[in-house]
């Protein structure tokens, strides 16, 4: 219980504190300190949920169950490891004068603010607050995207801001509709936006309204997930912002938006009785998956490329959630974990690589293995992992997705096959020359902290070789909540 509040309060205070001393040398460490504290409390929270089941605070303001607590843990963990990476990285950026002191303050405080909004979005029991938090996440990051004040970064920031703002507005309309449907059957208006309450009355809600609402919600939150054709802000924001931001954006923010959509799906399915919501998600997911896979071939900017790979994987996960059914859902939940771990690890290495070569353009990055082996290997292995090659965890979840798809929609498997192959080729044709070969002159070793990458990749490896029973049981609980029955 206290763990819950602490988990929310720590980043909030962090944001406030760093707003004042974010430019000092210790800011990076301080940032890390807050993240670690948050991680510990969230661990505690997770333990509580794991042992005593879901938690519902008085006046059901917060609601923690197996589904969101594992995302909370993931968030705080990735937030922590990224903070480890961010302190030397941002120090370097500051030293080469890309960021001023004010920028650093903004950066650090917003880093914590971002974590806070995301944790809030996860933990709250209130659809409205969820919306507020997600919008808040946008607001917190939008200035970070344009942190470097270059034309490109400002353009990216503007696009990010406006597209997500408009999208999220639609989501709010959807939320309003759900509220509308809820108040028809509920006396107490204040309860009408609570997950915990809504789930109990899910079947009584008016299906047509819910369906209408879901359309607005998926278009709204889908913009944040980065579903094609609403994805256009994503590559820009990822490529222009500071790399730690890209890491947590694609590692966490997308997950949160997806989490929201899945929550709504859980709410809508019993009312509709059909899986139409699922079919909508499948359509979006498949489209994003294929388009992103193709776009990978045309990339010139390394961070852009990996953001497209994020779109691809998000599409895959959305598709899997859309299929529904225990196996697919289990796979999707697992894929959320492995994707955010792997992708953040990759962005960390990419950040260092970009510093080594002083550029983000793929054609200029060469021979990393020679210049700085740990970065080269990190990038290569990370790519292999994200491409879904065993013995890494991404393969495990893709294996589950495939088998689930074959069970329910055999013919869609062909498109999955095509998409995966194309995406693989697209990633590798670019990564290989960056890693291998002779290194051009002018590349300098940088002070890189590869521990986060190592840790992430080890976890991925572990998940690939053997999914620990604890985690499996955990995900299975979530699966049971989402689909009604588990895999185990």
């Amino acid at each position: 219980m206290n763990a819950l509040y602490l988990t929310l309060l720590l980043p909030l205070t962090g944001a406030v504190v760093l707003a004042f001393c974010g430019h000092k040398r210790i800011a990076g460490r301080l940032n890390l300190l807050f993240c670690i504290a948050t991680f510990i409390t969230s661990l505690r929270l997770a333990a509580d949920v794991f042992f005593h089941g879901s938690i519902l605070t008085p006046q059901n303001f917060f609601y923690v169950d197996a589904f969101n607590v594992y995302l909370v843990l993931l968030n705080s963990f990735v937030g922590m490891t990224t903070a480890i990476f961010s302190s030397p990285y941002m120090a370097h950026e500051q030293s080469i004068g890309k960021v001023k002191a004010g920028g650093m303050r903004l950066y650090h405080s917003m880093y914590q603010g971002f974590l806070f909004t995301m944790l809030l979005a996860l933990l709250t029991n209130n659809l409205g607050i969820l919306w507020v938090a997600v919008e808040g996440a946008t607001l917190a990051t939008v200035l970070l995207v344009s942190l470097y004040r270059t034309p490109k970064s400002i353009e990216a920031g503007w696009k990010y801001f406006l597209l997500c703002g408009v999208g999220i507005a639609q989501a709010l309309f959807g939320t309003t509709l759900i509220y509308f449907a809820a108040v028809q059957i509920m006396p107490d208006n204040n309860q009408a936006l609570m997950w915990s309450v809504l789930y109990e009355h899910a079947s009584e809600l008016e299906p047509t309204v819910l369906l209408l609402a879901f359309v607005f919600l998926i278009v709204g939150y889908g913009t944040k997930i980065g579903l094609v054709p609403l994805h256009n802000w994503l590559p820009d924001a990822h490529s222009e912002g500071p790399t730690p931001m890209s890491a947590i954006l694609s590692g966490l923010l997308l997950n949160i938006a997806l989490y929201a959509v899945v929550r709504f799906k859980m709410l809508i399915d019993p009312a509709l009785g059909s899986n139409i919501a699922g079919h909508i998600m499948m359509a979006f997911g498949l489209l994003s998956f294929l388009v992103a896979g193709l776009l990978l071939h045309r990339q010139r900017d390394i961070k852009r490329m990996f953001s497209y790979s994020s779109i691809e994987h998000m599409g895959l996960i959305t598709f899997a959630f859309g299929i529904g059914g225990p196996l697919a859902t289990f796979g999707a939940l697992l894929h959320m974990i492995v994707h955010s771990l792997t992708k953040s690890a990759i962005f960390i290495t990419v950040g260092h690589a970009a510093q080594v070569c002083q550029t983000q353009s793929i054609d200029k990055i060469r021979g990393l293995i020679k210049t700085q082996p740990e970065i080269g290997w990190g990038l290569l292995i990370g790519t292999i992992a994200i491409a879904g090659l065993p013995p890494f965890g991404v393969f495990t979840s893709e294996f589950l997705l495939f088998s689930a798809t074959i069970k329910s929609f055999p013919w869609l498997v062909i498109s999955l096959l095509f998409g995966l192959s194309v995406a693989f080729a697209g990633l590798f044709r670019h990564v290989q020359p960056m890693v291998f070969g002779e290194c051009p002159t002018g590349q300098v070793k940088v002070k890189a902290n590869m521990w986060p990458v190592a840790v992430h990749l080890c976890i991925i490896l572990w998940l690939g070789i053997a999914v620990p029973d604890v985690l499996a049981g955990w995900i299975d609980q979530a699966t049971i909540m989402i689909t009604g029955k588990g895999v185990l």
Binding site: N126, G128, I129, W131, V132, E135, G136, L139, V142, L143, S146, R149, T150, P151, K152, I154, E155, A156, G157, W158, K159, F161, L162, G165, V166, A169, Q170, L172, F173, T176, L177, Y179, F180, A181, V183, Q184, N189, N190, A192, L193, E206, T208, V209, L212, P235, D236, S239, E240, L295, R298
Partner: protein, 224 residues
Amino acid sequence: MNFTVLTLAEQIILTLAALMLFTSFLLLAQTRLLTLIHIFALQGALLFATTLVIAFTYGRHHLLISAALTLGLKVFFIPIQMQKLVTRLDIKREVEVVGNPSLIMFGAAALVLFSYYAVLPIRELSMLATRNTIAVSLAIVLLGMLLIISRRKAVVQVVGFMCMENGLMFAAVAATQGMPMVVEMGVALDVLVAAILFGIFFFQIRTEFGTLDVDKLNLLKEVD
């Protein structure tokens, strides 16, 4: 439906709804920035009025707070800020070129029809008299998007965005008599922050690109 059976309050609400929709059309038609901002303020005022009426008629007193927020933000703060900005950036006389206004008007009308059509099932459902305000609010939201899409000035896009917000607020207020307090507060907070950030962005864009024409912002693209 028979208009006369409605109570006075309901009639007022519906009229206000109609007026809001009308202001949206005005926004679409308007080409001068300054006037645009004024019309936006007017829409805010209408929203404020609606909120008040509902708050008193149905005794939803927490709506008074959100009404106050609306007044503060949508009627005064944001329009005034924008006006200052426009004068500071010296673009108040600038005339927006709109691609074929009449076409856009027709599109807007079609959208209104569409939104009525879309929320048909809901209107059957609600026992509130103000139910078809949902259609209006949906129309306002869509028109706001249309405004954003059809204009190239960043400022106008922001107005469009805020106009969408109005539509949402209107839906929340008129159709469901207001969301829970926390949500209202949160939304208002977001709107406030958003407004401030927009202001910041105007300056950044202006300094980097020398104009607020968003069509100039296309450095980041895939086509080559």
